[in-house]
Amino acid sequence: MAGEVGPPSRDKERDGPVVPLRNPGDAMSVETEQSIATMRMPAGLGGLLPALTLIGLFFVVPVLALLLRSVTDPAPGLQNYAALLGDGTYARVFFNTFLVAAVVTIVTVLVAFPVAWMLAIMPPSLASVMFGIIILSMWTNLLTRTYAWMVLLQRTGVINRALMATGIIDQPLPLINNLTGVTIGMVYIMLPFMILPLVGTLRAIDPMTLRAAALCGASPFQAFRRILLPLSLPGIAAGGLMVFVMSLGYFVTPALLGGTSNMMLAEMIAQLIQSLLNWGLGSAAAFILLIATMALYALQLRLVGARRATGGI
């Protein structure tokens, strides 16, 4: 929400290192100030050097090494990519990965929205307790939480036995080793990443605006669809992107709760490298995942604008 109605000059506050160069007496219009700030960027690079070195050393170099490996191992050429993109089995894994990530993102948004709305409107003291609980779940070991879901979801697990005891079902529901299991387990893990940016966006919405909408004649549903939802889109976009991207590369939960028939990309990469020792194919798969992720991010930037994509953070 911050991005939408705020004055257009906010961005320049972030150009920290550039500021000392500015002539203090200058009274410039916003536009000139911004274009000059952009022009001055190279001059500010010196201050950014340590950060750039760090990013270069630990992010850019490994990615380049990965790229190099994918086109040289076992022989120079694009045969690894051809194999991945041309083969039906691999294509299914790609499709499945995007499907799971999309389903997880949608379900996460649906579950997170009411929770975030409650957190946004409840008294701050109570909300901070709730935040504590949510954050605590993030700090609990991922593997423990996933095993806990296995206990809950399996054929003879708590959920199935409870449902059968109450007579709602006769046969245990297939809740694990399939897409359902993966979705449940991953939504649970992704929720905080959706809730936190969403609460920030929702808190910035004045509740009086919704009262005004009601008096204007908007039913609760109309107020939600025409006012609350559009105003919370930046938060949904920010959280959604994060959840989707994290889901694309997720390993533990799909490996434990998913079935063999719906393997995801991270599992496949692990298999290619660990079991088959096929570093070239694994690197190519990882690189395709990276490109897909970056393409999505670029698409979102185009669609909703940079500040909305990051939730104005």
Binding site: T209, R211, C216
Partner: protein, 366 residues
């Protein structure tokens, strides 16, 4: 008997042990501009919110043309409202904000377009139709809010301190605008404010709230010239209160003894008093005269300070018993007089002075 347009019947609202509104009863005729005036926490906003449907009253009723509104949810009450804070929808243009109530009512496009044009013309913001609310000043935003609230021709318009966030000059400008719009549309307006000047400028009638009750309802003139209680006298306009002992009342005219021992008769008495009862005499600063006339009562004061206030002067003086009083003669009347601090006589018409019991009701929060 004709049915009142809007009727508030014994409205009561309690928050736990605290009662914010006590049995407020009020009838409002169609087309009236009525202001709820009072200090903060006096229950005026709570009453307004009960009419809007944001708060369920503990008991009592609100009737519009004889039908109870209480069971009707806010969005079906068809009431217009302008809020204290800017509540325009930040993602919609000015035109779409004004169109919003019509769109949720699924009115045809052509009608919506025409109405939006009319409304923006009414608040004189035609050229701002495509702007986002964030690009408007506070005053412009409130005018758009007014246009949005009137777009669906609501029978009642509620305004909850709509000008309190604006500076003085802008406030006066929009007050004039609100008066004009009230004249042109004939809509019934319930207006909440804590600013007595705003209430006096705008309203046909004022209901003065205190501690969850209506202290007095009447025109601005009624409240100013004929205050029912010392709270009303103290809240509306400036006033001096002098300690006095009541001696007797004959036919509504009281005789009292002031603290300096002087006797004054012919005072307007509010209610009945006993002989020897401690009372307070209220005299408006501008009711004091510097010239004696046959009917006037007199008071001996020491002038402490004289300040020039344009059309009036302000004299700060002290009675012989040490009580400070405020006197506002016109500058013209003052011209003939010695402007230096000294002991002198000031005069007042006993009919323009009012007698109130001491602690008839406490004045906390005033």
């Amino acid at each position: 008997m004709t049915q009142p347009f809007l009727s508030i019947r014994k409205l009561r609202k309690a928050f736990g042990a605290f009662t914010a509104v006590h049995d407020v009863t009020l009838d409002i005729p169609k087309g009236e501009f009525l202001t709820f005036l009072g200090p903060s926490g006096s229950g005026k906003s709570t009453t307004l919110y009960a009419i809007a449907g944001f708060q369920d009253p503990s008991s009592g009723d609100v009737l519009l043309q004889g039908k109870s509104l209480l069971a009707v949810p806010s969005h079906k009450r068809n009431i217009g409202m302008v809020f204290q804070r800017y509540t325009l929808f930040p993602h919609l243009s000015v035109a779409e904000n004004v169109a919003f109530p019509l769109r949720v009512r699924r009115r045809p496009d052509a009608e919506v377009k025409k109405k939006v044009t009319d409304m923006l013309a009414l608040v004189r913001l035609e050229s701002f139709a495509e702007r986002l609310p964030g690009a408007l000043s506070g005053g412009q935003q409130q005018r758009v809010a007014l246009a949005r609230a009137l777009a669906y021709d609501p029978p009642i318009l509620l305004m909850d301190e709509p000008l309190s966030a604006l500076d003085k000059k802008l406030r006066e400008e929009i007050q004039a605008e609100i008066r004009r719009i009230h004249r042109e549309t004939g809509v019934t307006i319930l207006y909440v404010t804590h600013d007595q000047e705003e209430a006096l400028h705008l309203s046909d009638r004022i209901a003065l709230f205190k501690d969850g009750r209506i202290e007095q309802t009447g025109t601005g003139e009624d409240l100013y010239l004929r205050p029912a209680t010392d709270f009303v006298a103290g809240f509306i306009g400036n006033s001096n209160f002098l300690a006095a002992e009541h001696l007797e009342t004959v036919g509504g005219a009281a005789t009292i003894r002031l603290a300096d021992g002087s006797l004054v008769s012919g005072i307007s008495a509010n209610g009945s008093f006993e002989r020897g009862q401690k009372t307070r005499l209220m005299i408006r600063p501008e009711a004091f005269r510097l010239e004696r006339n046959p009917a006037s009562a007199e008071l001996t004061v020491d002038v402490v300070d004289i300040a020039f206030y344009g059309e009036r002067r302000r004299i700060v003086a002290r009675t012989t018993t040490g009580q400070e009083i405020d006197i506002r003669p016109t500058s013209a009347a003052m011209a003939a007089h010695d402007a230096t601090p000294s002991r002198r006589q000031v005069f007042f018409d006993p009919g323009a002075a009012f007698l109130f019991p001491v602690e008839s009701n406490s004045r906390k929060g005033a």
